[in-house]
Homo-oligomer: 201 residues x 2
């Protein structure tokens, strides 16, 4: 074991809390910050503190937001009447960055998983039901992940939307664009096959 | 472009100051900290602040140290009379973690590079000369990297050590242990070949 001075050791240990950072990278980051970018180090610390203090949850869509001013609940986004349901903030950002969709969202912050004690309450589904009922929503777009739990969640949300008399759609799953059938995993291919669509004449 | 709320945007931007962190990882880290590990986020910010405030340079070996108490300049390390010269703190830590060497060090914090304005003064070579002269040093072990600049630095330091009447050694370079000749780059192989050593009878 290498002997580090105590605060350097603690800095390395703390950087390992970042996802994808192992002991080697944490050491490299710590040395880089102390040795070559103390200003950057200070910037990181300040930005974390600021974010922890000011970034909360939007009470309507559950995405991160600041000062009650939610980027994803602006009035212009209500025009289409569409509401897209996603599992996580990262999923919301992925849709924003790759699709032209600029409607509203609801972030579940998870998926149904009885084993982990995650049920409708934890996912804020009563709030989602309220929004379906009273928020001028006409279409619910379900964009949960195509995993067992994501599918179960999609099924549950779809039932809720149907009960509220809304149109329900699910984003398509199948062979990725540019993917080759030969290399796609079997369950994706089976899904793509059974979900085939009629082509126009 | 995805719209982030301002402090989330700044957090992502700040995390990109960490080495090896691109936009995708920075976003993943920021969401992880805000969503799943706010305590860890706080730990990172505190550890950075603490390290910036308390981790300085040892006036003798130039390694990071805290409160004037250098781990690498302890009296027991002086016994061998050896002084190992390295380019960076990371190099020092690599030697500590992989070799049994527990003598003293001198960290250049760089290498001679006239183009970048890095000369003997920037590398603290006058301090190194003092240590060679008066610090009960008998052997200078040069462990700069086998790059053009590292070799130039090694040459310069070796001349200083010889002028001080000290034994000078250079760590060996050649085919890595477990490496195969076929896959080693040409300059390493040429170096290993010309640096071949006589085997005992
Ligand atoms: Zn919102
Ligand atoms: Zn020292």
């Amino acid at each position: 074991m290498v002997a580090y001075s105590p605060r350097l050791a603690r800095l390395i240990e703390s950087l390992r809390r970042l996802p994808g950072v192992g002991p080697k990278s944490a050491q490299r980051m710590a040395l880089h910050l102390l040795d070559r970018d103390r200003e950057g180090a200070s910037f990181v610390a300040r930005s974390i503190d600021e974010a922890l203090e000011h970034v909360g949850r939007c009470p309507s869509c559950r995405m991160f937001c600041e000062g009650g001013n939610c980027l994803y609940c602006s009035p212009s986004r209500a025009e289409s009447g569409q509401l897209c349901v996603v599992e996580t903030p990262a999923d919301l950002l992925a849709i924003e960055s790759s699709t032209p969709y600029r409607g509203r969202y609801f972030v579940l912050m998870g998926k149904l998983s009885p084993i982990d004690g995650i049920g409708p309450e934890e996912l804020g589904l009563s709030l989602l039901a309220q929004r379906m009922g009273g928020d001028r929503v006409s279409e619910v777009i379900i964009a949960t992940n195509p995993t067992v739990e994501g599918e179960a969640t999609a099924y549950y949300v779809a039932e809720m939307a149907r009960a509220a008399g809304l149109k329900v759609t699910r984003i398509a799953h199948g062979v990725p664009m540019g993917g080759e059938l030969e290399y796609v995993d079997g369950s994706t291919l089976a899904h793509a096959f059974s979900g085939r669509q009629t082509l126009g004449a």
